[in-house]
Subunit: 176 residues, 2 copies
C-alpha cells in the first residue's frame, strides 16, 4: 500500500459516551448551542455525558477549571449528504462545508458547551444544542488562545446577521 | 440490535483531503496553531488543502468571506493512547481529555486556521500547526457567536500561562 493510499484509508472511531439532553427531536434543538433565545425553555439547556465503560475515569481528570469544552460528535440521525444545502435561516443554497449542517460528507459535529460540574464519570453540561442520544467522539478543553477569535469575519453568516439580527433561533418559540 | 447498541457502533469517516504543510516531523510543528513565536520560521506557516476527488467543488462554495475555518483531522501518526499524558510544557500528568494531546481515545484533532484564499479545489491556509500529510475529515466555517469565548477559563492551562507566559512554543527555536 502506498503512503497516499494509506492516508486515504477510512478512520474509525468509537463513542466515548452518549449525550443525554432534553431534545428528542430535531425540530426541538436550536441550531447552535449559544442560540437559545426564543426556544421553548428560553434557557440554556442542561445535558449530561457519562463516560463509556471502555474508558478509565482518569481520562477526564483535570477538566475541572475549564468553563467550556468542545464536543466532537456524530450526527447520528443524518442520512446522506448534499454538496449544497439550504440554511434554515433562509437565503440561497450554500456549499455544505461553508455551513454547520448535519448533512456533510463526514457527518461530524462540533459544539463549545459549558462545563457545569463533574460527578465521578458524568459531565454536567449547559448550553447544549445536541439531540438526546448523540454519540460523542471526543472532548477537548476550550482554550481561548487557540480557539477564540471574536473578530473573525464570517462571510454569508455575517450578511444574514446584518439583515436579521444575531439571535434568530429556529425551533419552537416561547409563548408571548 | 437495540437502539443503545446501535448508538455505540463505530463511526467511519473518509478524508475529504490531505493537508500539505511545511512540517514533516512532529518536533517541527508548534503545539497549537496560534502559538508560533519562537519556532524556526517565526511566522505563520502556510499550508494547502486540495479537496479529494470524491467531492464536488460545490461543497466549498461560499467559504470565501470567512477569516477562519475549523479543521477536524485525524492524528494519523498517533499510535495508541493513554488515560493520562505529560504535557510538553511541563507539570504533572493530566487526564488526556483535559489536553489537546494526539494520544487520545479517538485520535481526532481540531484547529482554527486562517483561510487565505481559495483556488478552484484548493484552500490556501495560514496559522497551521498540522503535519504534512494530515488527513482532514471535515471543514467548518468559524462563526464567532458559536465559537469565540475569549474569557473562558482554562483550568490547568491558565495556571501554566500565569507561570510561564502565554506564547511558550515547544519545537525548534529561532536563533537569537
Amino acid at each position: 500500500m502506498t503512503s497516499e493510499a494509506s492516508q486515504a484509508s477510512p478512520f474509525i472511531y468509537h463513542p466515548i459516551g452518549i449525550l443525554r439532553s432534553p431534545y428528542s427531536r430535531r425540530i426541538d434543538a436550536p441550531h447552535q448551542s449559544t442560540v437559545v433565545e426564543g426556544t421553548e425553555t428560553g434557557a440554556f439547556a442542561k445535558a449530561s455525558l457519562e463516560l463509556s465503560e471502555w474508558l478509565d475515569v482518569k481520562v477526564i481528570q483535570d477538566l475541572e477549571g475549564f468553563d467550556r469544552i468542545w464536543l466532537i460528535f456524530a450526527f447520528h440521525l443524518s442520512e446522506g449528504w448534499k454538496s449544497s444545502v439550504k440554511p434554515p435561516r433562509g437565503g440561497p443554497k450554500r456549499g455544505v462545508l461553508a455551513t454547520r449542517s448535519p448533512h456533510r460528507p463526514n457527518s461530524l459535529g462540533l459544539s463549545a458547551v459549558e462545563l457545569v460540574s463533574i460527578d465521578n464519570r458524568t459531565l454536567h453540561l449547559r448550553g447544549v444544542d445536541l439531540l438526546d442520544g448523540t454519540p460523542i467522539l471526543d472532548i477537548k478543553p476550550y482554550v481561548p488562545y487557540a480557539d477564540a477569535f471574536p473578530d473573525s469575519k464570517a462571510g454569508w453568516i455575517d450578511e444574514l446577521d446584518a439583515q436579521q439580527g444575531r439571535c434568530f433561533a429556529p425551533g419552537p418559540r416561547k409563548e408571548r
